[in-house]
Each structure stands twice: as C-alpha cells, then as structure tokens.
Subunit: 370 residues, 2 copies
C-alpha cells in the first residue's frame, strides 16, 4: 500500500526495525540518556530554547495538554478556526470550561490575521488565542508569522498553536514566531508511528501554568518537568515509538530543517501540478495550499467516497476523504516525511485511471474545461 | 538484561518483531478488523460482556479515564489505598474535584474489606469506591472479591478498580466480581510494550457516565464508543503496540486464562521460596503477597539503592527499588508474562552474590537468624 493520508505516514524500514528492540526500564540509566537525547533534538526541530515535553498520546492529547496546562475555567479564549481541527481546539477548551469566542473561516480559506486583530480589538477580555498552523481537514497553511505579529506583537496574548501536521514539515520557528505552546505528534513529519505527542512550552506558558486551574493529572506538565530533572518520565511511555523517534531524529538533524522544508515544498508543488494537469482543482487557493498535504476537490458528479475506495482497491493508493460537511467533496493526500516523486506519480496515475470510470474525463480537455 | 521490574515486562521476540510492520490507515478497513478483533479478545481476558475501550496512554491515563468518565466534581469518593498507586487513584480524583475520603493501609498490608465496610457505613454520601487490586508499590494483592461483596453486595456503590498489574496475570473476573470499571495497561501481563491502556465499562458505569460532569475530551469514552461503531478510533492510536497486542492475544487466548494464572502462581511461589532461602523476608505477609511481582525487604544495614544498582551492573538483572517512604527499604521484582524458572533463578543468584558484599550473609545462617 502507498499510504498517502495526512498521517500516519509511511515509516522508513530502518526506523520500523528499531522498534524490535527489547523494552527497557523507564526509570533506569538507559532511559535517562534516551530521554535527554530525544528532548535536546526535539528542541532543535521546534526551534526553541524553551521546554519540549513528550506525552504518550495522540495529537488531540497534545492539544488538550496545551489547554489544560495554561488556562482556567472561565478564561476568554479566541479560537481562530479554518476547519475541523481548528474547531476541535475550541471544543476541547470548552469541554474544560473556557469561554470560547470563535472566528471561523470557510473551507479552503486560511485564518485571516486581520480578522484575528478585529476580534481581539473588540474583546479585550480575551487572554489566549488558539491557532491551527496547518489545517489538515482543508489542506490550508495559515500565515502563522503574521498571526503572531498580531497576537503577540500588537496584543500580547498567550498563543497556543496546533502544529501537529506542520512541525518538522513546514517552517514553524517556535521562538522566532513567539509561540507559547506548539503541539505536534509523532505520526506526522517526524516519520515515526503514532503513540507520542509533543508540546513546546515558553516562559510565558509557564507563567500562565502557575495560575492555570483547569483540572489535569496525566497531562500535567509540572509533573513531567519534575520527573525530567531525574531523567524519568512521569508515567510509562510508549517505548517502541521513542526508540523509533531516536533514530528518526538522527536523520532529521542530519538532513537539516531547511533541506526538509525545501523538499516538502518541491514535492507539494509536484502534487499540485499533477492534479491540475488532470483537470482537477484544489480546495484552497494556491497561495495558502499546504506543503505537507493536499486537498483536491472531487469534480461535480463524481462519488468522492467511491473515488477514495477505488484508488485503494485498484491501485493500493490510500488517501483520505473529506470530513463532516466535506465528506465526499474532497480527497486529501498526504506528503509529509520522505515522500518521493514516484509516490506522487502513483497518486496521479491512480486518479487518472479511476476518475474516467466515475464519470470525469481527465487531462487537457478537462483542464481546458476547468 | 533480565528485565525484572513490575512493568514494562520483557516482550517475546515474535511480538517485538510484529511491530516492524508498516503503519496503516487508522480510518481504513484493515484497522477496523484489527480493532474489532482486539476488542473481542480484550473482553474475553477482562471476563466481561460489557465494553472495553482502548486508550493510547499509560496506566495512569486509564485511571484518569475511569474517574473523569464516571464522576462529577463534588462527588464523595472512598479511596481504599494500600500504597503509592492507591494514593495516586485518590490524587487524580481530587485533581478533578472529587471529595475524596481516604482509607489507608500500612505498607505491606492489603485493603481490609471490613475497613471499607466501616467507612461506607459511616458515610452514606459516598457514591464510589476506588480500589487497587494489585498494589505494585508494596507487592500486595487485595481480596477484590470480598471487597466487591461489601461495595456492591452490601452498599451498591460504583466500583472503580485499578487492575493495571493484575488483569491477564491474576484472576480478576470483571463481571463476576461486579467491577464497574477496571483499568489495565499494555506493558504488564499482556506481554506487549507500553503505549496502550484499557478500561472496561459496565452498564452501571455507563449510567454514571451519562450524569458525570468532570471535564474530559481525549479520554471521553462516549467519543470512543461513537467511533467504535464505525470501526475507527477517536484519535490516532499507538499502532505498533496494537499490532503487538493482536499477536499477544493469540498466545493469551491459546494458553487460556486458568493456565496463565496457574503459571503466575507457580513462578511467584518459586520467587518467594528463593528469597526466603537467602534469609530475606517479604514486605507483605505471604497470604496477601502478589503473584505478579514480589516486594522483598532490604535487610537492615544494607544499602537498598546500591543493591539494585549492583544487581544491574554485575548481573544484568534489572529490579526496581522502593518508592517514596520505601526508597532503599525494599526491592521489587516483576514476574508477569512469560517468566521462566531460569529468570527467577538469575534474580536469586544475583541477590546471593551481591548481598554478602553489601554486608548481609545469605543462606541458612541468615534464614535461621531471620
């Protein structure tokens, strides 16, 4: 199978193989070295001199951790959402008692920094802004740098970022962009299986933490840091994924972030060109289209659910459909990690074979028509 | 290394190897089969016709899930604690706003059903009882069946059980003993690496859930069940550990629970006999000593921290020391999973070589003296 969903992403063989290693004592000296070695390099990838905390959880767990460690019930929070994952960030905040103000953008649009400015100017009681950097439900990357200029530079609010599908794939310099908490998860650009999630924590986030009263235990970062001092995790972590991450970070640091970002831009460009040549269009405008995954509109008259199923069955190309209101209307193609030109071509080839059978004539004619 | 801590436990090679498998789409048909196949067999091992929910978390995460899904802030809860993990159950409940009444037992003692009866009789406002079945910090297994007779039979309270280090190692028939929620974790008797945790959920637990207002999102079992209907996880799970669990469950079901429990009893008996022959004594009385791990008193005058370190360095035998007030005073030896007589003997041999160097003469003389 050519796994082309926006995570989990295919894991290189040598990284998979390292998970065969026997488990170790998570409170012993070997683990201590592993924890410190991984954490040092996570900080390099997050581009932060702050803390990075490892959680055994999914990205959603990391989003919850970002919120419950910095907020109190009743806190007014601005949730800037460009899709399902942005909405989720707000839902978690609400579940824990935050007073959430939503600023929503239509499917395919990015978060507009001016709209964020307007919302903050109108409501001075907002203390915190939630932003999804790369919205996987719509294939959109928002301009986090400009959003941060508003949130931090103009209004000096706490900035919590869902960087789950961007860190390690797209530029997200945590400190330079003054992000207080950035969440990510192992099954995205990190090239390892799911099981771990990460959150960065700035000094401002720690200040907020000292006053934050949302209930927390498993995700309490104070506990994590207290154990970290002794080289231990607070609770037993997903060791095989840590072994995998240890090796993946070698490859990431060796290649270098700039090279990784450039490679993602190039592969994403090939993906976008390829689908356009078939006569398809993207859900987002090109200038906000994500370089870590691509959301393509299903042409009118084509059954989008069947398109995904046929690509899988006939071609072994596993893509994701749209969620909620976008179900059947888009397909989402992941290209994080070590995606090759051949991987991209196999997706294009599958689309080219399946679409005509479902009633859409691909190619120059279609492109002309579009 | 001979990993002899009370979890993570050594994972058989063929189970480690299955984690090399490439990751899959967690929202695709392959995952659906995996999820249903695993869940069916988890229910067999939990001996329940209720639900069992899989979480990507440690055992502590499962304890949190048990609490936040069934309780509301202000609920009066009895925490029957025989050690550090019992205390933790109460701490989590407190962190989420429960009104916790503690009934604590001294290190090495089991939870006394009569004391639970007394506490419940004295305070009718208690709605829920928290019980640790196997207390890993002291090597004690409490008589959960008798406790349940009091909690359920006499008082009809909600019964939440930490079965983390007992399910799949010691008898814990969830339905027969009327446990409403039982928590366990993958790195214990299940013979797989850490990364997953499980909670069973009775009808009474679902009734409690429908009224429970503790905040939750990542651990919300309603969300898990809604996704389960479609064969999906709510959030991206620790796939490699699921692959491992799928294979481990084959072995567990094939061997059969009674045979597994008998094997654990036999191995635990060898462990206890062995340490006694060295002149050592157990922390708990024999009749409550756990069959999944053993807590041995460090003899007076011996540096317990050094004992653990020397066994590791000189013999490759990795044991755990005591926690908190028991630091340096006990060593804890795990024997969950496929522990062999040779594994036990290597622990005894290591103790026999190291103890005299640390000032304790082992053997018949010591046994006589003890």
């Amino acid at each position: 199978m050519n796994l082309r969903i926006p995570g989990p992403i295919p894991v290189p063989d040598e990284i998979l193989e390292t998970m065969c290693r026997q488990v170790i004592n998570h409170r012993g000296p070997e683990f201590k070295e592993l924890l410190y070695r991984i954490t040092d390099r996570l900080k390099q990838v997050f581009e932060t001199s702050g803390d990075v905390i490892i959680l055994t959880a999914s990205g959603t767990g990391a989003m919850e951790a970002a919120l419950v460690n910095t907020l109190s019930p009743g806190d007014r929070v601005l949730c800037a959402s460009a899709g399902a994952f942005g909405d989720r960030f707000g839902q978690i905040a609400r579940a824990f008692g935050a007073d959430v103000v939503d600023v929503c953008f239509e499917a395919g649009a990015a978060i507009d920094p001016d709209a964020v400015r307007g919302a903050l100017a109108k409501d001075p009681e907002i203390t915190t802004v939630l932003v999804t950097h790369n919205e996987t439900s719509t294939g959109v990357t928002s301009d986090l740098e400009s959003i941060s200029t508003v949130v931090k530079g103009e209004f000096d609010k706490l900035l919590l970022v869902d960087g789950i599908s961007s860190v390690c794939s797209l530029p997200l310099p945590t400190d330079a962009w003054r992000c207080d908490v950035v969440a990510s998860a192992s099954q995205k650009g990190w090239m390892v299986p799911p099981g771990l999630a990460f959150i960065s924590f700035s000094q401002r986030a720690w200040d907020a933490h000292s006053k934050a009263t949302m209930p927390r235990f498993y995700f309490d970062v104070s506990t994590s840091m207290r154990y970290f001092e002794t080289g231990q995790p607070p609770w037993t972590p997903a060791l095989p994924v840590m072994f995998a991450l240890d090796l993946a970070l070698d490859a990431i640091i060796e290649e270098g972030l700039e090279a990784i970002f450039a490679r993602h831009r190039k592969i994403a460009g090939m993906m976008r060109e390829g689908v356009k040549r078939l006569g398809l269009s993207l859900l987002p405008e090109d200038r906000v289209a994500s370089d870590s995954m691509t959301a393509v509109r299903v042409p009118a008259g084509v059954d989008g659910v069947r398109l995904v199923a046929e690509m899988r069955k006939k071609h072994g190309v596993v893509t994701a459909g749209g969620q909620q209101a976008l179900r059947g209307k888009i397909i989402r193609i992941g290209h994080m990690g070590q995606t090759t030109a051949a991987d991209i071509q196999s997706v294009i080839d599958a689309l080219e074979e399946v679409l005509p059978r479902l009633g859409f004539a691909t190619g120059a004619a279609a492109a002309h028509r579009a």
